[in-house]
Amino acid sequence: MSSLSLNETPVRTSKSFNINNIKLTNLELPKVIQEFNNTQIVNASSKIIIEEKRTPISLKYGLGEEQTKQVQTEANQNYKIAIDSKVNKDTEINFNFDNNNNTLIDNIDILANEQTNATIILKYESSKELECYHNGVLKLYAKKNSRINIIIVNLLSDISNNFIAIENTIEENANVKYTIIDFGGQNTVTNYYSNIIGDFADNTLNTIYIGKDRQIIDLNYIAELKGEKSNINIEVQGALKDKAKKNFKGTIDFKKGCKKAKGEENENCMLLSETAKSIALPMLLCSEEDVEGSHSSSAGKVGDKELFYIMSRGFELKEAQKLLVRANFNKILENIKNEELKQKVLDEINWRLD
Amino acid sequence: MNKTLIEIKDLHVNASEKEILKGINLKINKGEIHVIMGPNGSGKSTTANAILNNPEYTKTQGSIVYEGEDISNLKTDEIARKGIFMSFQLPEEIPGISVTNFLKYAKNKITGEPVKIFKFKEELKKYMEELNMNPKYMERSLNVGFSGGEKKKNEILQMLVLNPKLAILDETDSGLDVDAIRTVSKGIEMFKNDENAVLIITHNNKILHSLKVDYVHVLVDGKIVTTGGQDLATEIENEGYGKYKIL
């Protein structure tokens, strides 16, 4: 058993607010990392080259020293992905956890060359009973004028531990869109850092999470705007039931020189039980005058009026709640164009809200 | 006595490095009402903004002579204090500053004389009645939460209070219903005398049904292509701008 202190916020606030980092105790970290051999790659082509190759990692933030070091030294899946032109079909990497493959340390490095266009789906999936451990690093470099769409789907069991650290560098006029569906894990901890350096660079991050039982969800999103007229848009929609707990830390940092940049962050947490807990720290940091920044954060139960309306149409309470949660998730779910995957996510939402 | 109030000569203006006005010539005498009509994007609002020297626009050539003085390089507030007023197409909202306080302050800036609050409020109330404005608006924050029509009336109110020599009304009639347009026309008639002038900028001629004007100019692609009397507006109403468009 060990304890970890992870996901430090870029700026500290009072210790007594319990949000500067997350401390996980009684964590069973894998001592020996076995091989992971159940990965399925769909639609790799000459335009998108996927090599099993280790790239050295350094991260500005990351989850914490130990987690980063584990990926640096012990990764059992390494992919170097180069996008060389416009790719029409989604490329998928599916990590299928099973009894023989229950520990994944992945190191994924994506380079999107100039003028390219691609969608990459990363799916982490296990059966409901399997205890898994996932610790991964995803680095993306988006060159000028590239358009990259990344979808990460966490469908691990609720007795798993899921850790992901993402770092993006976004050049001039590049457009990077992330959709993160974050469901599984006793603990699921995500660090997301975008270094938006190019003029007119654009980054969107959409996240959906559902917490049940005693799940702990910790999200630490950081976007630094450096390019002129660059843009960040963060939208997080979640629902918590039972004794689940969520920490959301979202930082938009307007660095000097990012004239006319825009940053927007919207976080909404639906509370479906009186014992669920939601902490949010939506930070705006600003050292540039000519910018537009805004954030909004809200929490509460699903509206009584809406519930009544839907129940008056014959839905029972739980169904009505589900419908309203789904309604809040819908806009983000539309980012998933792959119908099969979308159905899978919808089924998971239904199961989790039952 | 020289009756020329303003004379614009060969005015060229850029917005974001694109040439919008390509040589405008326009002379307005005291006592006249002029109208500039033209399709969307022809440069009508640019003309108004250029006269007030909006820093978003750059003059590349030509001159604007007002009462014998070239004002083309003066700052906006200096131009305003010389007696030129512009009614905005989209008036800005200023939270925390009431209509009364704002106008009192602006009046003081324009006239350079102290404003007597009681008399001033009476005057304001009178004008608001004429314009069918709710007197409660006097204490509301400037334009905050005003409907489109209320904002336009508030612009006319400001014109009446500040009493300029040249009033430029930029699309003041757009988006208004018939009653509101009539109110605006009434405001213009109240304002108008032999010593001042009005320049109306519009893309339709609804307001001309309830107002008599002296000259109508048609602006197409940054140039005045023709000038006439009220008849020209009627012609445009019936036939559109088609015949003036450069093929």
Binding site: K15, C286, D290, E292 | -
Partner: protein, 466 residues
Amino acid sequence: MSKTKIEEFDRSIYNLKNKDNYDYKIQKGITKEIIEEISNQKNDPDWMRDFRLEALEVYNKLELPTWGPDLSELNMDEIATYVRPKTKLNNSWDDVPEDIKNTFYKLGIPEAEKKSLAGVGAQYDSEVVYHSMKDDLKKQGVIYTDMETAIREYPDIVKKYFMKCVPVNDHKFVALHGAVWSGGSFVYVPKNVKVDIPLQSYFRLNSPESGQFEHTLIIVEEGASLHFIEGCSAPKYSKINLHAGCVELIVKDNAYLRYSTIENWSKNMLNLNTKKAMIGKNAQVDWVTGSFGSKISMLYPLSQLNGEGAKTEYTGISFAGKGQNLDTGFKAIHNAPNTSSVVNAKSISKNGGKCTYRSLIKISPKAKNSKSSVSCESLMLDDISVSDTIPVNDIQTDEVEFSHEAKIGKISDKTIFYLMSRGLSEEDAKAMIVRGFAYPISKELPVEYAVEMNNLINIELQGTIG
């Protein structure tokens, strides 16, 4: 050209320096001997002497905060924590020594007292030099006096509440306050008594390389109400001054308290202040705060909503200029059902100044059907300044309505053009927009203070625009 108010207002009244003409000034530093000497000088009762020494121990154990502004330039060995002016407590301005009286006259305190206040306390360095209240309030049982008198004359009440609301171990500067506190005001409003006209305490620090540590304790009994105003200022010196005051507000069931502050410390002041209100059933506390002065401020008033139906509102503005780091905000802890909190925070940063809004809204599992809404707006006046928003929202139950909104940006060029087209110069236009921005706060203040705040805004805007 017409002159604007900007030129008419004179900052020098705040900067008026008197000779450091004290009756007693303790040696610099903070040791057990120094604390004991303060107790001797102040003729503390035994319980207070023990209290100070215990607080000192806590102070020595606690660390500096690991967050917020850098406090490394504070060296307690360079601060004299007790400076007694050359006078006793007076109840007539005529008895106050000339130089001190002059200072308060220039600050406009006796004039405000005549016009719009029901009582005034004036502190100079470490001791209160003037205290007075209207007779009709005395007759109704209202007590308004300095803390030293309160300890002598109302020991039971003071002992019951003193540093119970804000415990000594809250943070390092509260512990320091507990050890060296001196001066401040004590207010007691009996059951159902409504004090309609405000009371005001003014704190003036004159002595260089010293600190002010006044303690304000206000008890508003059931069904009573009070408006209390606090003002503070100091002349500017080249070396650091320290202010570590403490405000404890006990507002009982169905009572109401409005606590207004105009803070204008000099720009060599570290303002590390602590304020907290305990709010009973259906009671309400409203904070109205304007922060203009100091080099560094760390100030986050806390409303603890303990009784069912308790309410609180925070309306605050910070204006940071060159060399200033104002880290301010608010904390609300909802501990009972049907409680509500409303926050309206604004900040303006210019000329390299830094404003941080830092907050906590905590809705505990007991606080069913509670509501909280927070709105923050930050205005950047140039590209060398900084503005950060660091709000923590801790929601621990589902029957709540919680919303938080924040915006950051500059004054739009379009708005400036609009105002200039009405004859206002660019400076006037910007000043008008900033005053409008601050209006939701100034409208909550009594007229004279709203005028003072607008004047301070004008002073702050001077020389930075154009």
